[in-house]
Symmetry: C2
Subunit: 340 residues, 2 copies
């Protein structure tokens, strides 16, 4: 049995939905043990009402909670009895723990990953890699989506290798890697993009297909989109924002018109299918690749079902030996950095 730690006090619907997700996960998979980190009285109070194999869930007591509104570095350094810091410390100290899942403050989760889990040997920077749905049914990984500002080209080369290893575990045989840029031509972009282009093009361990433009991220033509964390974050958030914006505008307009309300009833099937197609909860969380243990940042608004997906995602990465494969892929490609 392998252990996965869930930060029970991270996310908009914590701790209830985290606990429900944990119970549902162990009920589905007899090989997983989940450690719930957080205020034990509250966790036990809810667990008592639920049915599950008691050998598959344990509790790691922690009296504090890290909120979204505090400095991440400060919180990780000082709130030693918070659910998140306890989770990281426990993961670090116990070999049978394969990874951590938290829907808490992105900054704190990333800082914890950097400071507590530590980088894999030779990794310049761990990268935040969300995967999101394309318009043609597959999915695309953005790497880095905001963990690293001011990236050097050699960081981006490592991101490409790490994300390729990840997408292979998700079932993509030869992940097509593209660089986010302002145009598709080879010479486009800022200094970093130009230098990165040459590195990616020259790396025979990558299936590099060239530069891509932000508008094509959901086209299905790419499996991995490599970017500096600033631009990757803009890409991710503007895509999410525009989709939400247009759907909200649609919803608001329907409300204002009698005919449209009738139309919407007929179109329920279409709306349900689109919702399912672009359902982020089905995509699991964003993985921080390049740490010594697996770390999944779940969406802040995750409910039980999303935590179940994240547990499955983390277990799949473990079974696929993702960390070993990342190490091997960097060694093979000869792009391991010196540990700083």
């Amino acid at each position: 049995m392998v252990k996965i730690i869930l930060d029970a006090f991270g996310g908009d619907y914590s701790p209830n939905e985290v606990i429900l997700g944990a119970v549902e996960s162990v009920n589905k998979n007899p090989d997983i043990h989940i450690v719930l980190a957080g205020k034990e009285d509250e966790i036990y109070a809810q667990l008592d009402m639920l049915k599950y194999n008691e050998e598959q869930i344990s509790v790691l007591n922690a009296s504090e909670v890290i909120s979204n509104n505090e400095s991440a570095t400060q919180a990780i350094r000082t709130k030693k009895d918070s659910s998140l810091v306890r989770a990281f410390d426990y993961a670090k100290d116990n070999d049978d723990v394969i990874g951590i899942i938290s829907a808490g403050s992105t900054g704190a989760v990333l800082t914890g990953g950097f400071l507590k889990l530590g980088r894999l040997k030779g990794i310049h920077r761990p990268a935040l890699c969300p995967v999101f749905p394309t318009l043609v049914g597959g999915s695309v990984c953005i790497c880095d989506a905001g963990a690293n500002m001011d990236c050097k080209p050699e960081y981006l080369e490592q991101f490409a290798l790490m994300a390729s290893a990840y997408m292979k575990i998700l079932g993509v045989k030869k992940p097509r890697v593209a660089q986010l840029n302002v145009g598709t031509e080879d010479h486009k972009g800022d200094i970093r993009a130009k230098e990165t282009f040459e590195l990616l093009k020259g790396n025979k361990y990558l299936n590099f297909v060239g530069n891509m433009e932000a508008r094509d991220v959901m086209s299905g033509e790419f499996d991995v989109v490599v970017a500096d964390g600033f631009a990757g974050n803009v890409l991710l958030k503007s895509t999410e924002g525009a989709m939400k914006g247009i759907l909200n505008a649609l919803k608001e307009d329907i409300k204002s018109s009698f005919l449209s309300k009738i139309g919407a009833v007929f179109m329920k099937g279409t709306f349900d299918r689109l919702k399912a197609k672009f359902d982020y909860s089905k995509q699991g969380g964003a993985v921080l690749l390049g740490c010594k243990k697996l770390l999944v940042k779940a969406h802040g608004n995750s409910k039980a079902g999303s935590f179940v997906t994240c547990v499955e995602q983390l277990y799949a990465m473990h079974q696929g030996k993702l960390i070993d494969k990342i190490s091997k892929s960097l060694t093979d490609a000869g792009v391991k950095g010196e540990d700083e």
Copy 2:
């Protein structure tokens, strides 16, 4: 009467839709003279069939055309008899020309602006500023949307001032300026964003409201979003791409379902209103701010109506004395650079 030059051989529907747009424009406004640049035989052949005051349209012959598929710098330097280069040269040499409109290759239009029109005194870099609709009915200006890579913080400060002057002419009294960033907190971002934040915050001639995230670009909370050209381009293209993507997915799904097809008939009003709300052709083109004359880059797929909007936009900027106001605003704020 003031002169505006239209590149008759730029854009997907050139020259026909450009010529139609020119005729429609002069028929609406007796104070405008339009110079159509391009192959004169083709232009006259179409003009002969249209009704307009002949004193308001003239033709500037040019035998070549710059395509989207050639190097912009090379094209501007060598294709001296192209419609675009002729347009720039004519604008430069004639005081009564207030500006240029082209729906041709973005790269060539920008390069022409830089090399041929020249920068206003003290401007570090001219910036490409499209304006696009927000979800609440107003509009927001992205500055810079891709003309400048590797921007320095002082460039971004000038962008903020130039775009504010522009938005004032579009009727916004005290344009709210935000910086595109990975989070809303003051200390967020890469080195450039942190330094730019301090400059913008310290500039009392700006109504700076802080950092913003890409997902909120259409929220209506900001009138000007300042960004390095790389990130601004990603913001613009991913927003456009996601909106198009979701609408296409909607359209495709409706086609596949009998009930949804019926529903779509009832919802025609909603779809028409949304289409009108997010209609880029009504927004005019993207302006290159900071050159000695006005320059509007129309969307590549512009039809006659869009060219009419661009002409009105350019005329409004002229009447609002945009160039003088940009100069004055930079002088007032004491941020004019040395001419390099």
